[in-house]
């Protein structure tokens, strides 16, 4: 059975823990955590990932910049990216999608919503 590696970039430890909890319920998905965009980029430089989940509002480097950098990186330009956003921040969401994000999840996040998106993008039945 295929194994998948997923990078979660989120500055809020609470949200990160909730996303990791949701991903732990998808079989064969291994999670790496990063608390801002720069740490996320370091992880991306060190390993190959099958999926990236990132928050938009983060210190140091926000999610939009991260998505842009990921799409410029030959190794990860085709990797699906899920952005986490609030329902109100429509502009940010549209910008992220225009930059190449694959899907979005709105806060407050629900584990079934995360699981469904991850399975859809990783093509796990």
């Amino acid at each position: 059975m295929a194994e998948y590696s997923c990078l979660v970039v989120e500055d809020s430890p609470m949200m990160r823990q909730l996303i990791v909890f949701a991903l732990s319920r998808v079989k064969n998905v291994h999670v790496t955590e990063a608390d801002d965009g720069i740490t996320g980029l370091k992880e991306l430089a060190a390993a190959r990932f099958d999926l990236i989940i990132t928050d938009i509002n983060m210190p140091v480097m926000d999610g939009l910049k991260l998505v842009k950098r990921v799409r410029m990186d030959d190794r990860h330009k085709d990797v699906p990216v899920i952005i986490i956003t609030t329902e109100g921040s429509k502009e940010d969401r549209e910008r992220a999608m225009a930059l190449g994000a694959s899907a979005y999840i709105t806060k407050p996040i629900q584990a079934p919503q995360v699981i469904a998106r991850v399975k859809e993008l990783l093509k796990i039945s």
Partner: protein, 303 residues
């Protein structure tokens, strides 16, 4: 006289009979013969008609026999159809039962998923809240719980000053300006600080006088040490979820303890010094309780 005539006719040779008689006899004979022929022809005709009738009856009989055989087969088929129809209805009924059971299981599955999600949120919130001894981090976690888990867009965390006369805003989200110290002279926040009872409006209700949508006092025992005032939720959040009320309950009970614990630790020179208070608690020597003692106690209790 007739006998005499008859005798004479039979005895007299034809050639000797008078011509009239001979003709008459021939006529009679011809008539007789014709009648015989006609009778025979009638008999033949009747016979042929009877034969046809018999054949017709035989055919009819055969048809009726076939019909009877066909009816038997039909009855058998009808019986089979009825049986199959009964089986079909039974299968349909069973299928409907199974679909109903599946729907119930799906509903239960969704319910369990939702409960699991709620428990995960509560677990994460509780762990984060009690996982730090830095006051600023406790405040940050409380704000994250409200913002990320509940979906609050505009809220304030106040510390209640001794005497419950004023509340000091220590964190707020969604306000452009710095908030002033709040005099607890009346209103939902003052009531919550005094009574320790929370006040939660439905999200679609607009409280009068700019009062908060939800006021959650953070209490330690009977003392309210802080209070959360939620003024606005995220646009798409139209109702409180069950987990929101559980999170408020968690904040109400554990928020105060986390704030007090972290502040006490912050003021202490190191972790060991905080635990020095335990040294002053007199240790009571205790013998391990035997199982039989436990059961006797239980018996005594029940009697």
């Amino acid at each position: 006289m007739d006998e005499d005539n008859g005798d004479r006719r039979s005895r007299a040779p034809a050639s000797d009979a008078p011509v009239d008689l001979r003709h008459e006899r021939e006529d009679v004979l011809r008539t007789f013969l014709r009648k015989g022929i006609e009778l025979t022809e009638d008999l033949i005709s009747d016979n042929a008609a009877l034969k046809r009738r018999v054949e017709g009856l035989e055919q009819e009989n055969a048809t009726l026999r076939r019909q009877v055989a066909h009816d038997d087969a039909m009855r058998e088929l009808l019986s089979k159809i009825q049986q199959l129809e009964a089986e079909r209805l039974s299968i349909l009924s069973r299928s409907a039962e199974l679909e109903d059971t599946t729907r119930q299981h799906e509903g239960r599955h969704e319910q369990i998923e939702a409960e699991l999600n709620d428990l995960a949120s509560l677990y994460v919130a509780s762990q984060q809240l009690s996982g730090t001894l830095k006051p600023a981090r406790v405040v940050q976690h409380i704000c994250e719980m409200l913002e990320q888990l509940v979906g609050a867009r505009r809220f304030v965390l106040y510390l209640v000053e001794t005497g419950v006369t004023h509340a000091l805003p220590v964190a707020h989200i969604g306000f452009d300006e710095n908030l002033p110290r709040l005099a607890l002279e009346g209103g939902a926040i003052a009531d919550a600080c005094l009574t320790g009872v929370d006040r939660i409006h439905e999200p679609d209700e607009v409280p009068e006088g700019g009062e908060p949508l939800a006021v959650i006092p953070l209490v330690m025992g009977d003392v309210c040490v802080a209070v959360i005032a939620v003024y606005e939720l995220l646009e798409h959040k139209t109702e409180w979820a069950t987990v929101d009320r559980e999170l408020f309950h968690l904040l109400r009970r554990h928020g105060a303890i986390a704030l007090i614990g972290a502040t006490l630790y912050h003021d202490a020179p190191d972790a060991r010094s905080v635990l020095q208070a335990l040294a002053s608690i007199p240790v009571q020597p205790k013998q391990p309780r035997r199982a039989s003692e436990g059961s006797e106690v239980q018996k005594g209790d029940s009697s």
